[in-house]
């Protein structure tokens, strides 16, 4: 090739909220640099494109595809496979693609439970309704398809091989900027690595004062007025900061709320929630089984806190179905 080829990139989504794309927009003027640096072949928020355009690409024609969102239905999976095929580098962009994200909380329920709540059992549903969406419907002699709603949510990696993971819900714009630059310059770590995040936990960047920990009581965040200078955990407010990669800019603890782990587990940790169990419980200040139970009662619904962003990527992945 005689002239330097511009980077061919695509941004696309699965079951997502759009926050990841907003995070890219939040790089502000950097977007203009990206436009100069690369051909954005596909970015539905700002640039036209559709499935057929991806399909028309040669295999590996894209240098990088950023996939945000989880895999919730057959359409998400289809796009994921297509992008994998067309891209040299596939990046799981944001918590949902990385770990399943908040949509992954649906893995505590079955498909039927979700459908029932959405379409049958709720106070504003049409009286007497018994209709629920179905993958294939015959209407007036026509067939209408909608994607198959899977039993559960998958992270991107469960469906296709992923080269890099850019964590965060959403990824911090600075990290997005750095990651795109790293890719543009080929300055990348080994495949399979997490990029755009620290190798240390959120506490590293958290300015709150930390000391030895002993927790005699957990508080729900609204139950006490917290000290803005002290470690939240030491005040009994559940914070996943110690078990979560930094890189977010300590957004939640700085606001006065405990971290919920969107940047995912630290290197080598296979189950973020298990680490939260282990660390949090270890510092409970009691040796009496009944008192320990009482202290733990101070964290209702612990599981959905510990696995807020990572349930589909956890070891057990979902609630066991009968």
């Amino acid at each position: 090739m005689s002239e330097t080829k511009k980077l061919q990139i695509a941004l696309y989504w699965g079951a997502a909220c759009g926050g990841c794309d907003v995070a890219v927009l939040d790089t502000d003027a950097f977007i203009l640099d990206v436009a100069a640096l690369a051909d954005i072949r596909l970015w539905p928020i700002a640039v036209d494109g559709k499935y057929a355009d991806i399909e028309a690409l040669a295999d590996g024609e894209l240098d990088v595809a950023f996939f945000n969102g989880a895999v919730r239905n057959s359409e998400n999976e289809h796009i994921a496979r297509l992008l994998r095929q067309k891209s040299r580098i596939l990046v799981a962009f944001g918590s949902c693609a990385h770990l399943g994200g908040i949509p992954g909380l649906a893995n505590f329920f079955t498909r039927d439970e979700i459908i029932r709540t959405a379409y049958l059992d709720n106070p504003s549903i049409e009286p007497g309704n018994r209709t629920v969406p179905t993958p294939e419907t015959r209407v007036n002699g026509h067939t209408l398809d909608i994607p198959k709603f899977y039993q559960r949510v998958f992270p991107l990696e469960a469906v296709v091989p992923v080269d890099y993971f850019l964590p965060g819900c959403p990824p911090a714009p600075d990290q997005v900027r750095a990651a795109i630059l790293a890719i543009a310059t080929g300055n990348l770590p080994a495949r399979g690595s997490v990029v755009g995040a620290s190798e240390r936990a959120v506490c590293e960047d958290c300015k709150r004062e930390k000391s030895e920990k002993k927790i005699g009581r957990f508080y729900r965040p609204w139950e006490i007025i917290q000290d803005p200078t002290k470690c939240l955990l030491e005040q009994g407010i559940v914070c996943l900061g110690p078990a979560t990669r930094s890189g977010c800019g300590v957004r939640c603890p700085n606001t006065g709320q405990g971290c919920r782990g969107c940047y995912g587990p630290l290197p080598g940790v296979v189950d973020q929630g298990a680490k939260v169990i282990s660390s949090l419980a270890s510092v409970i200040d009691s040796r009496d089984p009944e008192e320990i139970e009482r202290i733990l009662d101070g964290i209702p619904d612990f599981t959905a806190i510990a696995y807020r962003f990572g349930l589909p990527a956890s070891l057990l992945q979902r609630r066991i179905r009968a």
């Binding site: 190798e199 240390r200 936990a201 959120v202 506490c203 590293e204 930390k210 000391s211 030895e212 920990k213 002993k214 955990l233 900061g241 110690p242 078990a243 930094s246 587990p265 630290l266 290197p267 080598g268 940790v269 296979v270 680490k275 939260v276 282990s278 660390s279 270890s282 510092v283």
Partner: protein
Amino acid sequence: MQSCKIGVYICQCGTNIAKMVDCEALVAFAETLPEVALAKTYKYMCSNPGQDMIVQDIQANGLDRVVVAACSPRMHERTFRNALQVAGLNPYFFEMANIREHCSWVHDDPVAATQKAKALVRGAVLRVARHEALERKTVDMCPEVLVIGGGIAGLTAALDIADAGHRVHLVERQGSLGGNLARIDLTAPFLNAARDLLTERITRVTESERIDVMLHSRVVNLDGFIGNYRATVEVRDADGLPRKTEFLVGNVIVATGYQEFEASRITHYGYGKLPNVVTSFEFELMLRHGRIQMADGHLPRFVSIIHCVGSRSQEFHGYCSRVCCMTALKYAHEVRSAIPGCHVSDIYIDMHAFGKGHEDFYRRSSEVKTLFLMYRKGDRPVIRRADPGDTCDMLIEVNEQLSGETIEIPADLVVLMVGMEARSDAHEVARLVNISQDKEGWFIESHPKLDPVATTTDGVYIAGTCAAPKDIPDTVAQARASAARILAKVARGRIEVDAVYAEVDEARCSGCRICNDLCPYSAIEFDAVKKVSRVISAVCKACGACGAACPSGAIKARHFTDAQIFAQIEGVLL
């Protein structure tokens, strides 16, 4: 992970393993496992030829990992690690699969047992592939020794160490040395005076320049690790006021002894209510005062000795206190000598006379017309006050086993042979020096047979009756053994500490400080400048609590890493 060459050795343990586990099938199975270069089975892997086989295979075949499926690693892990070392391989490239204690000895279906053995071997193979070479560190060994307890065990150990030229700190709770032995008159079976045994030792100890005796004292804290313990002792001065003193020692001997069973717990012996029912220690006091008498000062005409008071019973202690039978015979002997014509009856369950000269002593005692009555365990004799017209103070009813009859005998004095039990404060001592107790409260040895004076804490030894009931020769032997063990280590000057400890990857530590308060040994320090936590490896005892708790995965429990345990989990789920 680099690929490796694993040798797998299946021990038949004579027939202990082979009779339940198909060792050949296990070999064939092991050969199919990833990275296994060779698999063999042998009669006794722990034997010299067995170890040689490993050494030769390592050298000839370039093995770099070894799995031995045999007995418990608590038995022979050290043996095989040494073999690896001999062969020039890092000793931590070794893993044992426990197919004897956990398999062949506890299962009765050969098919299921073999299947389980395969799973255990697979776990070990997958694990060992992830083992890392670990280097042991050496630290200075402080030659001074702390001896806790000034009884015969403590005195003996202290003298041996002092005689070898090292300083000893001897801490005794009481105001005098000698312990329980000082309460005894003559010893069985050779009837040496206890006083003679003790006096010479106490004199030497108190006069020794190298032994610092602290009476009315107790150890209140012990920090550190082998070679480098810091002891804090609370000493009472002349006015009885406590003051604390601190000193460094390299090793500790725990020789805190026993306490006697509280006889009043067996209510129908009437101890504490019937004036002429006494314990063996009270009887010793009479002997030492030279007069065997009833509470009213009269000489007894009928003396009964009851064995196993508190011992060998379901309600109290299940074990035998070991010294009482011979002591009882000694009493019979002494009563007969002191009060000729006095009728002595000896009420026992079995007569335990297993020591040197004991059987002979028993035979001689039987010849002095002692009436032996055998009762059944759980069917204790009953003592009651005699009626006013009777010629004796009490009557004892015994269901006599040999005759099969219920016999009532008169008694003016009843001696209860109270057993030994762990001291009520043994628990505090155990925590202080970080050793374990068994369910009866006795301190647990490192190995009941092969390492009976060491404990699970390096540098802490046990001697005498704090570990279990024993007689004087055994106590003294243990005391001298622990002293010898310490002297051997002190002689080397430096001590190798285990390579298994936790370490913090500072590049991964966020300084969250979750771990800081978890270490029971305060081995974790926080660097306030770098804002990271750090493990002082020499202080770490490798429990792994911090590794499990570290939310960042920044703490690695060496030799028990996540990767190793995950591999083993995968492996055992065959």
